[in-house]
Symmetry: C2
Subunit: 351 residues, 2 copies
Amino acid sequence: MSGKVKKRTLINDIASHLQVSIATVSLVLNGKAKQSRISDAVAQRVLAYVEEVGYKPNQLAKSLRTGKTHVIGLVVEDISNPFFATVAWLIEKQAFERGYRIIYCSTDNNTEKTKELISMFRERHVDGYIIVPSEGIEEDVEAILREQTPTVLFDRYLPGLPTNHIVVDGAEGTYAATQHLLEQGFANIAFVTTDSAQTQMEERLRGYARALEEHQLPQTVKRVEVTKDSDKLLADILAFIDKNRACDAIIFSTNYLSIYGLEAIAKLGLRIPTDLAVVSYDDHDLFRLYTPAITVIAQPVESIAKNVIDILLEELKHRADKPAPPMQHVVLTPTLVVRQSSVRSREEVAT
Amino acid sequence: MSGKVKKRTLINDIASHLQVSIATVSLVLNGKAKQSRISDAVAQRVLAYVEEVGYKPNQLAKSLRTGKTHVIGLVVEDISNPFFATVAWLIEKQAFERGYRIIYCSTDNNTEKTKELISMFRERHVDGYIIVPSEGIEEDVEAILREQTPTVLFDRYLPGLPTNHIVVDGAEGTYAATQHLLEQGFANIAFVTTDSAQTQMEERLRGYARALEEHQLPQTVKRVEVTKDSDKLLADILAFIDKNRACDAIIFSTNYLSIYGLEAIAKLGLRIPTDLAVVSYDDHDLFRLYTPAITVIAQPVESIAKNVIDILLEELKHRADKPAPPMQHVVLTPTLVVRQSSVRSREEVAT
DNA sequence: GATAACGGCTAAATGGTTTTAGGTGTCCTA
DNA sequence: TAGGACACCTAAAACCATTTAGCCGTTATC
C-alpha cells in the first residue's frame, strides 16, 4: 500500500544469507569457482540461491570495477536512412548474440554533434566504437585510438588516420553503372552528388568520371548542398534537371538524393527511362517497387555488417595483447542491379 | 613509442594539483559551489584547470554514486521500419537537447528478446523507459513500474497495466479510410492485417469493421502470419489477393504489409486503382512517390515523439515527489492522406 | 566575554562490485 | 614433529566519483 520501494538484492545480501563471503559469491557467479577452488557444494548453494531470488549484479558497479561495459557505441549518420538502419540492425543482431549491446546515435553529419556523441561514449566507457565518420572529427577519433579502444569505421574513412575500416568500392559501382548506361545507348549522363568531401562520395564521383573519360564524353556534375530543408533540396535537384534537358540519363550518388530526384522528375513530367534514365546508388524498397523499377548500385549490407562486427569483436577479444593489432582495411564490391529505369528496351511488366 | 596508455585524468589529479580536496572539485563541477560556499577564487581555479586538462568525470562512477544515468532506454519493434526510425530519431533529438541520451534496441516483436532487453536496461540502470511493447511482457513492465522508474509506452499498450501511453486512434484512421473508399464507389473492400493480438492492430481492424457494418457490407479480412521470411509473406499476400478477385479495394494495416501488397499487385499485373484501390496504414516515401501515389493513413509522428518525451521528462523531473504521478493516456488522431491509389477519377499527373 | 552565526573548506562514508594476497585447517611426507 | 602441499575460503583494496557532517577561524550579537 505504501510507496516503499523494494530494495534491490545485493551481492551482500546473498553472501550474508548464505553465510559466505561476498568474494565467494562473486567468484562463483563469474565462473571462477573451479580456479579458486570453491567447493562444488558451496558453488551449488550460491547458484541456487541467486536463481531463487533472481539476483542480477549491478552492471554499473561491475563496469566500474572491471573497466568493461560490454557495450559498443554505434555512431551512424542517420538512423532513419534505410541503409544505416539495416546495417545497424544487422550489427545489433550479431553483437547481441555474442553478449554485446549496441547503443546507437545519429550524427546528422554534424561535426559538433558527432564530437559530443563520441565524448558521451567515452564518458560511458563503451568497450568499442563503430563509427560512420563525419568530417572534421579526426582529433576525436585519434583520442579514442590513443586510449587503445577498439574502433571500426565504415561507409567512409578518415584519410591519414590508421583505423580499421570497411568501405565499399563506390567507384567500381558508379563506373559499372555509367558503363551500363553507355551500353544502353545513353550518351549524356549527369551525376548528382552532395557537396561533402567525404571519401565515399568522392569515390562514387570518381567512378563516373573515369567511365566518361574513357569514352571521352563530357561530364555533367551537380553537387547539391546537403541540408535538412527538404524543400530546398528538392528545388535544387529539380532546377538542375530542368536546366539540363540535354541529359538523357542521371546517376544519383546516394539514396535520399535519388528519392528527391524521382520526385523532381515526376514533377517535371519526364518519363523514365524514355526521357531520362535513372540509376541510384543504394537500394531501397522504393526503387525496387517504383514504376518503372529503378536500377541501383546495391551495397552489400550483410557483408558490411558482418565485417564490421567481426573485426571489432576480434579486437575486443585480443585486447591488451600484442602492441599493434594490424589494421584491417576491407573494400567490398557493390552490385549493379539492373532494372527498367535504365534500359532502352520497351518496358514490359515481367512476370 | 611504447604501448603505454596515457592514464585518464581523475578528480584526484585535479584536486592534488590544485591543492584542494576532491570534495571541492566535485562541488564546483556540479554547480554547488555557491551553496557550499566555495569562494569564487577557488571555483575559478578549479574550472580553469579542469578546462585546461579536459577532465571529464567518469560517468560510471557518477552513476553508481548518484543512481542516475541520464540514459533513457528505447525499445522499439524494429528500428529499420521507417515509422519507428522516424519516431526514434525525433525522440533522440528532443532528449539530447535536454541532457538525456537514448539507447535503442529492436525487439522484432520477439517476447524473449524484449524481456532480455528490458532486463539489460534494468541492469544498466536507465533512468526511464520508452517501450513499444510486444506481447507477453506484462510481468517485465510491471517489475519496472514497481521500481518506480518512469515509463512511457507508445504505438500500443498493455491492457490492464497502469502505464503512461501514447497511442494513435487506429480505428478512426481505418474507419475514415473505409468511408473514403466507399464514397469513391468501391464496394468490396478487403483488409489485410497481421495475426498479432496487439492493441493497435485490433483497433485498426475495428475501424474497418465498423464502417462496413454501418453499411451492411461484407468484410473480407486476411490475417497474415508475421514472419521474417519475406518470401512467405509476399506469397501469402499474393495468394490472398489472387483468390479474392472480387475485391475492388484493399486496406493494409501497416507499412510493410502494404509494401508486400504493392509487390504482389504488380506481380499479378493488376492496376491501381482501376482493378484494385489501395490504402496503407502508415506513410512512407514509397507511398508518396509510387505510381500511382498511395493513399495512406498517416500517423502524427512528430506529435507522438513530442508527447512521449514530454511525459517522460516530466516524470523524471518529479521523481520521488508525490506518491502517485497521474498516468497519462494520450490518444492522437491519424490523418487520411488521399492520393491517387484510392480515387475513381482519371489519374492525371498534377503539378 | 561568552555565544552564535557564518564563511570556506575537507575527511570520510557511500554506491556495488571484482580480485588479489593471504589465512585456516587437514593431511602427507621425511 | 617440523615442514610443505593442498583445499577452501575471506578480508580488504580497488574502481571513481558524490555528498554529508563537521572543523576551524572570524565576525556579529547581547
